[in-house]
């Protein structure tokens, strides 16, 4: 049977159309796998790899940068897994000798990827086939174990402190009872001494009167045994009372000293409290680190994102351009600032300095949004149309960072909701000129 031209055209359209779709899929996959970009190899090491596999994604400062090529197991138990990475040459300037690699979680069933933090500006670029440091991976199980240990330790300390506190209170009570008993015992002696003293005074007054009136003789006074015995008794009583009082004071001082000394319950209690506070501080520090790690965990990242704890550093320029921050009913408003009006033309491109006029312009640009910025997100976008792609990236990022740092310092903005986005040569939709050379303050505000 002869095939009509219309049918032939239909078949041709069908075949070519589906092949074009297939080509698009092949291109998109190749683009995501960076099959068409120049790359370099580098190594890192970990004591445990936590599910990291060959073929896993590598991100540099949040931007997709390559993949894990191979993982070589250690030769001995104390050794480390050696991980070989293939990273895009476009991001080589961010991978410095002091960059740190870490294993993070992403994917439907907790698939792992390898994140490389950008190194410091002062460090040299990590040469191909060199080894950068690896930060041991965090696991949810470790956090739970640490939390459990912390709670157990705090419970034990509280039990110990409460026991010692009880002992201290008992000791203080006992001291008070002893002191009370002693004071009660001394009271009778003091009363007797006071009464005796009064009688002596009376006797002396009577004697003086008798002498003054000329009754009896002075010799009789000195030879009268009764009077002498009476005075001696009073002296002995006074001495005993003084001795008892001294003993009471010594006992009280000893009791207080016992409470205060290095082995006493009070110091022990203070030591325990200090130790508890230090332990709690350590635990909170570890907990804070783990909470930070938890924020990046696949299972809980959405929970933190929903509460505004998203990490701007995790958004790549491609995702940003595609509208990663435009969800949840946000609107974006941009203020465009030209490079020559903001930065000192004499400063190096890779570390631009803001001029006084530039600072005033940034202040003026931010001022209308100050009362709403707390609920939104500010992203300083950097643009640089000239040079190669890596130069565009570095310069546009440096510009954005300079402006962001100034605004954060000047207005005490929240670092978590104030980010930078190096957009290189653009596109700069809505800019006064295209391509744009400078920066833009993008305010993502709730509708």
């Amino acid at each position: 049977m002869r095939t009509s031209p219309a049918r032939l055209a239909g078949v041709g359209l069908f075949v070519i159309g589906t092949i074009v779709l297939f080509g698009i899929a092949v291109f998109l996959i190749g683009d995501r796998q960076m099959a068409f970009t120049k790359r370099f190899d580098i190594y890192t090491e970990f004591a445990k790899v936590t599910g990291l596999q060959a073929g896993a994604i590598v991100r540099v400062s949040g931007a997709r940068a390559g993949e894990v090529i191979e993982i070589t197991p250690p030769a001995e138990p104390a050794g480390k897994f050696r991980v070989r990475l293939r990273v895009s040459q476009e991001l080589h300037q961010l991978v410095r000798s002091d960059s740190v690699a870490s294993i993070e979680t992403e994917g439907l069933v907790g698939g792992s990827y390898l994140a490389i933090a950008a190194g410091s500006a002062g460090a040299a670029e990590a040469p191909p086939l060199s080894t950068i440091a690896g930060k041991e991976p965090f696991e949810l199980g470790d956090l739970l174990q640490q939390m459990n240990a912390t709670v157990t330790k705090v419970n034990a300390t509280i039990d110990q402190v409460s026991g010692q506190l009880e002992q201290t209170i008992t000791a203080v009570n006992q001291t008070v009872v002893n002191a009370n008993d002693l004071i009660t015992g001394v009271a009778d002696d003091v009363k007797k001494m006071a009464a005796s003293g009064a009688r002596v005074s009376s006797d002396i007054a009577s004697l003086s009167t008798s002498v003054r009136e000329g009754r009896g003789t002075v010799g009789r006074l000195f030879t009268d045994d009764t009077l002498y015995s009476h005075i001696s008794g009073i002296a002995a009583n006074a001495e005993a009372v003084t001795s008892d009082a001294r003993a009471v004071v010594a006992q009280a001082r000893e009791a207080i000293s016992g409470v205060k000394n290095a082995q006493g319950p009070m110091v022990g209690l203070a030591d325990n409290l200090r130790q508890t506070l230090e332990d709690a501080r350590d635990a909170m520090s570890g907990f804070a680190e783990n909470m930070d790690a938890l924020r990046h965990n696949f299972l809980l990242r959405g929970f933190f994102n929903a509460r505004g704890y998203f990490d701007l550093a995790q958004i790549s320029p491609a995702e940003y351009r595609a509208g990663a921050l435009m969800q949840r009913g946000r609107t974006v408003t941009r203020v465009w600032l030209e490079s020559t009006r903001v930065f000192d033309p004499g400063s190096p491109d890779e570390s631009p300095r803001l001029t006084m006029d530039g600072r005033r312009r940034l202040d003026a640009a931010l001022a209308p949004y100050l009362d709403r910025i707390a609920d939104g997100v500010l992203v300083v976008e950097g643009f640089e149309p000239g040079g190669s792609r890596d130069q565009q990236f570095v310069i546009s990022r440096a510009r954005a960072v300079a402006a962001r740092d100034y605004l954060v310092s000047r207005f005490h903005l929240d670092n978590r909701s104030t980010g930078v986005m190096p957009l290189g040569a653009g596109p700069a939709d809505g800019a006064p000129a295209e391509p744009w050379n400078g920066i833009a303050l993008a305010f993502f505000l709730e509708r």
């Binding site: 049918r7 069908f14 996959i29 995501r32 896993a56 491609a318 351009r321 509208g323």
Partner: protein, 261 residues
């Protein structure tokens, strides 16, 4: 007794042997001339182009439904951003190829079974052979080749229609832009996912055409037999597609070990 057991064994395995020989012949014969390009194009038009509305509509609906189900599951973990990637993986690796094959088995398998069955009971096949035309080559080989060629193309269409449906559902639910959606869709898809999964559908196409042709070619019992051949073509080819998929997936995992992340 022995005779009865032997007869039962023969009754059980003879059709399987006949089908295996028929399939082997269908696999080898297309490579010998004449190549019957016109017939192949005609069948490609019937099996391929005429199946596109069914495949595109089904793919779109499957994408919407999968997206809604995936959203309901991933929302609990705050992982809505993974919906495009999850959907793309599911569609490209398995849902797209298998669903397209089953739909084609229903539409094309029944058609081939009925058409060849009718030709057999009306003695058209006998007439072709009486005119020295290789009926097997003219009727079966051309259909097998066209079906094996059409299946991967229809699968690609199904994959993209499914992703488009997923995007529509996601755009309504979260307002995600199409650019971000398709960017995220291919986050975890690799060539190891796309190529084997798409190419394996050529095997599905071969099975559909061979099963339907075999049953149509051997139809007996008049018009009732034609209906029976049509129904059995759909049932048998669907079962063989699912069973062969198990083996093919196992082979793909052997040659392309799966990587997470």
């Amino acid at each position: 007794m022995v005779d009865r057991v032997g007869a039962a064994v023969i009754r059980l395995f003879a059709p399987a042997g006949a089908f295996a020989l028929f399939a082997a012949r269908a696999l080898v014969r297309p490579f010998a001339p004449p190549y019957e390009g016109g017939e192949i194009l005609r069948h490609l038009f019937q099996f391929g182009l005429r199946s596109t509305p069914l495949i595109a509509t089904s793919g779109l609906a499957i994408g919407v439904v999968l997206s809604m189900h995936t959203r309901a599951s991933l929302e609990r973990f705050g992982a809505e951003s993974m919906i495009p990637a999850g959907l793309a993986i599911a569609l490209i690796r398995e849902t797209g190829p298998l669903t397209a094959a089953l739909l084609v088995a229903g539409r094309v398998g029944a058609g081939i079974g009925a058409e060849l069955g009718a030709m057999r009971v009306t003695e058209q096949i006998d007439a072709l052979e009486a005119n020295a035309v290789d009926a097997f080559h003219f009727l079966v080989s051309t259909r097998v080749v066209a079906c094996a060629l059409a299946m991967p193309l229809l699968t690609i269409l199904m994959d993209f229609a499914g992703m488009l449906g997923g995007y529509l559902a996601e755009a309504v639910a979260s307002g995600m832009s199409w650019r971000l959606y398709f960017d995220r869709s291919f986050t975890f898809v690799s060539y190891a996912d796309l190529l084997p999964a798409t190419l394996k559908t050529a095997v599905f196409g071969f099975l559909i055409a061979v099963v339907a042709s075999y049953l149509g070619f051997n139809t007996t019992g008049g018009t009732e037999g034609v209906g029976d051949a049509s129904t059995r073509s759909v049932v048998l080819s669907s079962i063989l597609i699912i069973l062969s998929d198990v083996i093919l997936v196992r082979m793909i995992f052997f040659f392309y070990p799966q990587v997470v992340g």
